[in-house]
Amino acid sequence: MKNPKAVSSDSRTTALGTDKIRKDFPIFSQNIHGKPLVYFDNAATTQKPRAVIDALLFYYQTQNANVHRGIHYLSEIATSLYEASRVKIQRFLNARESKEIIFVRGATEGINLVAHSYGRTYLKRGDEIIISGLEHHSNIVPWQILSEQTGAVLRVIPVSDKGELLLEEYERLLSKRTKFVAVGHMSNALGTINPVKKIIQMAHHWNARVLVDGAQAVPHLPVDVQDLDCDFYVFSGHKIYGPTGIGALYGKAGLLEAMPPYQSGGDMISYVTFGKTLYNTLPYKFEAGTPHIEGVIGLGAAIDYVLGLGLDKIETYERELLAYGTKALLSLPGIKIIGTAKEKGCILSFVMDGVHPHDIATILDRQGIAIRAGHHCAMPVMERFGLPATARASLAFYNTRGEIDALIQALKHVREVFKT
């Protein structure tokens, strides 16, 4: 009992059952460059459990048909699976109604849909859009383009040295000109978890609408869109152990109903003549064309899997793993962690004296350890900290303390290679 903290966390590790969990992910049975794969690039994309892979396989082998139109057995099966996933996501986000869940390609498309459909309809010259200095490019560029198109002005919430949003500055940016606020729930580059509920309340005080980019948050913490009271929430399936190319947009029904379609074609119509087209109701108005049926079914399976483990257990486990990793990294000389927010998800963004992140990533890769090196599609964040790039280890519930130890050993090896 020399280290009671470690003992208690071990018992919780057992509660989550990481050893057993890892067996659910076929990819971990292989070696990379002769070493066991240590996958620390979860903020880029996560690995897929067998339950997801099997759902895709089973769908194509036994259930494949188009949805919403076939009057035949398989089409009814495919349609019910597709719509069952929508209900799963509704419950997962605690949306009021399943029609508030729109399937999109990912968080990026969700943001583009809102910027395009809501933004171009309701924003005009002189209006203001607020984003934050922590955003991924996908939550910057659509708003920049919208600003150029409408004449609205883009404002940015500044970031502290710890990587936290400066809410007093945000307060100052808000005014009756503020029409829209788009903010990430959790920073992909630094891990900061933003106080989105507060940010939303402050925006609503000025009657501005709020979109939350939840791409990084949903795999790691429970999200309740009604409690947050956000107007829009987006996430990507592949970051929550589901397939690529699928994600969801949540929008309050009243807002979605008042918005024009984003894309047009089949499925989004109720009646078409050459003179006029009547649009379908929600959610189909925003789902033109044959959807990513397989992706939707796989995403449903991924959400079942995550809920089966329990997001509260995942959150507890990952929090401890982050604390362990933070301590271990800081035990090495010449390492600086970028992003030290009080509320932080399991991302370790760091730099090493005298060695560029790109070189760190190459040397780690040869030890079987996958990390990301670069600007993480968040160049303004890098600029804020005066860095061209960082090395980023982003963790998930299937990662272990043993893997953190392997990372630390590999970082020592980086020093050896560079003879610093």
Binding site: G354, V355, H358, T362, I363, R366, G374, M379, F418
Partner: protein
Amino acid sequence: MTDLNELYQEMILEHNKSPRNFRAITDATKKAEGYNPLCGDRLMIYLKLENSRIADISFQGSGCAISKASASMMTTMVKGKTKAEAEALFEDFRKMLGRGAGSDYDTKSLGKLAVFSGVCEFPARVKCATLAWHTLYSGLGNEAKIISTEEGR
């Protein structure tokens, strides 16, 4: 770890630590900026051309060991060469890194640049090694735009 030693050869590490010609040329006749958007590497090449000959060359910027060492060694190799000679050297350098079927490059002319031959085993790093050269190429070709390693993709 043999392949890592192939990549991070002594000379590369040494040039990374103490890059040559790492400065601005105030009376440069040409400047060119190179950029690798994948990793954020950015460098500026300064050239002083006299009758198609590289009378002086320098660079500044930030990047990984491979890109920095490559830029440093490039400046030492092309200084004094004509535009055509520098471009021929780039061609051989590129062939060495590509090492595709039938790529016959002139090992003799490459000289100490041969230390970069290990880079071809690390496809993700080839762009790091060629960034400075692409930038030089644009500088010699009198193009004013920023050279991106991701162009045409």
